[in-house]
């Protein structure tokens, strides 16, 4: 559903979501960090045990998401290197975006 909040800053992060279709806006303390589209991931803090969401993700359009809990993620990543590389690439892209955001404000 458009405008629905998928994950809010400070909430427990226990599920990793893959965007199947649609667009999701990422904000931190109200500032826009970026927009994730199909193929992107949200809820990446679920990769760290007992972590909370660091950013707020909100649907900009109707979105379709696939959800993986930590056990499913551990299993898939040990069995499927291409899946792992996809998640790593999504994380690396996000990290570059966020690093650029930080660099631009220093």
């Amino acid at each position: 559903m458009a405008r629905a909040v998928i994950c809010s800053e400070g909430e427990p992060a226990d599920v990793l979501y893959f965007i199947i279709s649609g667009e999701v806006e990422l904000t931190l303390r109200g500032e826009l960090l970026g927009i994730e589209k199909a193929g992107g991931i949200i809820g990446e803090m679920s990769l760290i045990s007992a972590a909370t969401c660091c950013v707020t993700s909100k649907a900009l359009t109707d979105v379709k998401l696939a959800r993986l809990d930590r056990d499913q993620l551990t299993l898939l990543s040990s069995q499927n290197p291409e899946f792992s590389l996809h998640v790593m690439a999504a994380l690396a892209n996000r990290l570059r975006t966020v690093d650029q955001y930080i660099s631009a404000r220093m």
Binding site: L33, S78, P81, A92, L95, R96, S103, M106
Partner: protein, 120 residues
């Protein structure tokens, strides 16, 4: 996971003196490293954003989806690093079951630090 156990006897070990720049932001690179001994700083435009020591990895972004280094890595003590090229990285992904989750966890940890810097 214990990468030290896998790489401590590697024949691809490089020693850097304290102060040496191991990875330079903006330059091309095609290797990642496992810190075997010593400590390094990870910095963005001169600001230290993370530290890495024994068993930690640095430079992993270059093997995932771009060869342009996103941050600078500097030796803060004399240190020894094991070099991992693309072929070794692919082999680790395929043959060491915990390795993928370990790299994802490291990336998520770096993101967490970056988010915390923005939130401050």
């Amino acid at each position: 996971m214990d990468l030290l156990e896998i790489f401590k006897d590697s024949n691809e070990l490089i020693a850097y003196p304290a102060g040496a720049v191991i990875i330079m932001e903006g330059k091309e690179g095609s290797h990642m490293y496992v810190v075997i001994q010593g400590e390094v700083d990870i910095s963005l435009k001169g600001r230290v954003i993370a530290k890495a020591s024994r068993g930690d990895i640095v430079g992993e972004m270059a093997l995932i989806n771009s060869e342009i280094r996103s941050a600078t890595v500097t030796a803060t003590t004399d240190c020894t690093l094991a070099v991992i090229d693309q072929a070794s990285f692919q082999s680790l992904l395929r043959h060491v079951p915990d390795f993928s989750m370990h790299v994802m966890n490291v990336l998520a940890g770096r993101l967490k630090l970056a988010y915390e810097i923005i939130a401050d």
